[in-house]
């Protein structure tokens, strides 16, 4: 270290601040503590707010998503079941309709046969007269 370095060291030697510096810092610290106390009183509010912040929020979101998924699953199942029942009812109706139609066709055929027989019988009787 040369002379100039020594001069520089001397010029930049440490100095003390005003004598009341520490007291002023401690007064600011006391002020900070006072401000922190009312914050502690509203701790429950802070905890509630913290609940909606990560990582707690992640669990709440996961829970809500699970509930939504279960509800959606039930909804889809219910809708499918209703649809299935409606289709079964329609099919049943169709079957009943077909049976009625078949019965009517049979009845109609039988009626036709009876009518034919009556006409034939009437024809024979007319011819013999």
């Amino acid at each position: 270290m040369n002379r100039f370095d020594e001069e520089l060291k001397l010029a930049l030697r440490r100095e003390e601040p005003s004598p009341d510096f520490t007291d002023r810092v401690m007064a600011r610290v006391a002020e900070l503590q006072k401000q922190e106390k009312p914050r502690e009183k509203t701790g429950w509010l802070r905890r509630l707010a913290e609940f909606f912040q990560p990582p707690q929020m992640k669990w709440a979101t996961a829970g809500a998503m699970a509930v939504l998924l279960v509800i959606a699953g039930f909804g889809v199942h219910h809708r499918r079941e209703s649809e299935r029942m409606r289709l079964a009812e329609i099919a049943e109706g169709e079957r009943a309709k077909e049976q009625v139609m078949l019965a009517m066709r049979i009845a109609s055929a039988k009626l036709n046969a009876a009518q034919k027989k009556i006409r034939e019988t009437a024809g024979h009787e007319g011819g013999s007269k």
Binding site: A11, E15, P17
Partner: protein, 178 residues
């Protein structure tokens, strides 16, 4: 060292007296960095106060007395640079300053005053580097670590600053040998 450790751990546990002891122990260091940087006592006291309040709020992160010293120097340095950038501290132009009457009797005080004045005219980062080197007696590698600066940049700041300082002091003090 054991006592310093004890004071730090008591302060971390919320002991106000221990924190006041920490302030007393380091206030000259923090204040002087801010003072020679800003060349204004009131500004330096405000900056130093802010540094200690910041320390109070971050005590939990301080691991040891050595870490505390490192932390204080780093935070003070950054606060000084931030303050200078925000307020664009008026730098003293050496050329505009009145020529001092240089007699041998006043040599020491003139030299000291001239050096302090000229250091204050250096750009922010070189100024901080010079102060940490000569006030805090730190090695260039320690300064590089403290300011997150490459070692060669620190060395270059020091070299250039010394050339400027020598030149300006010689011009300022006239015939007095530097």
């Amino acid at each position: 060292m054991q006592r310093a450790d004890d004071t730090l751990s008591r302060a971390k546990d919320g002991d106000q007296t221990a924190f006041a002891d920490l302030v007393r122990e380091h206030q000259a260091m923090v204040f002087s960095i801010a003072h020679y940087f800003s060349r204004d006592r009131a500004t330096a006291e405000d900056l130093a106060q802010e540094v200690f309040i910041h320390l109070y709020q971050n005590l939990a992160a301080i691991e040891s007395p050595a870490h505390l010293k490192f932390w204080l120097r780093r935070v003070t340095g950054h606060r000084c640079i931030d303050h200078a950038r925000k307020h664009r501290v008026k730098t003293v132009s050496v050329e505009d300053a009145p020529e001092p009457v240089a007699t041998a009797d006043f040599r020491d005080s003139l030299m000291t005053e001239a050096l302090r004045r000229i250091v204050a005219t250096l750009p922010e980062k070189p100024r901080l580097v010079v102060m940490l080197r000569y006030q805090e007696d730190l090695d260039p590698s320690e300064i590089a670590d403290l300011l997150d600066m490459p070692l060669n940049t620190v060395k270059s700041h020091l070299r250039r600053s010394l050339v400027i300082l020598r030149e300006k002091v010689t011009r300022s003090l006239g015939e007095i040998r530097v």
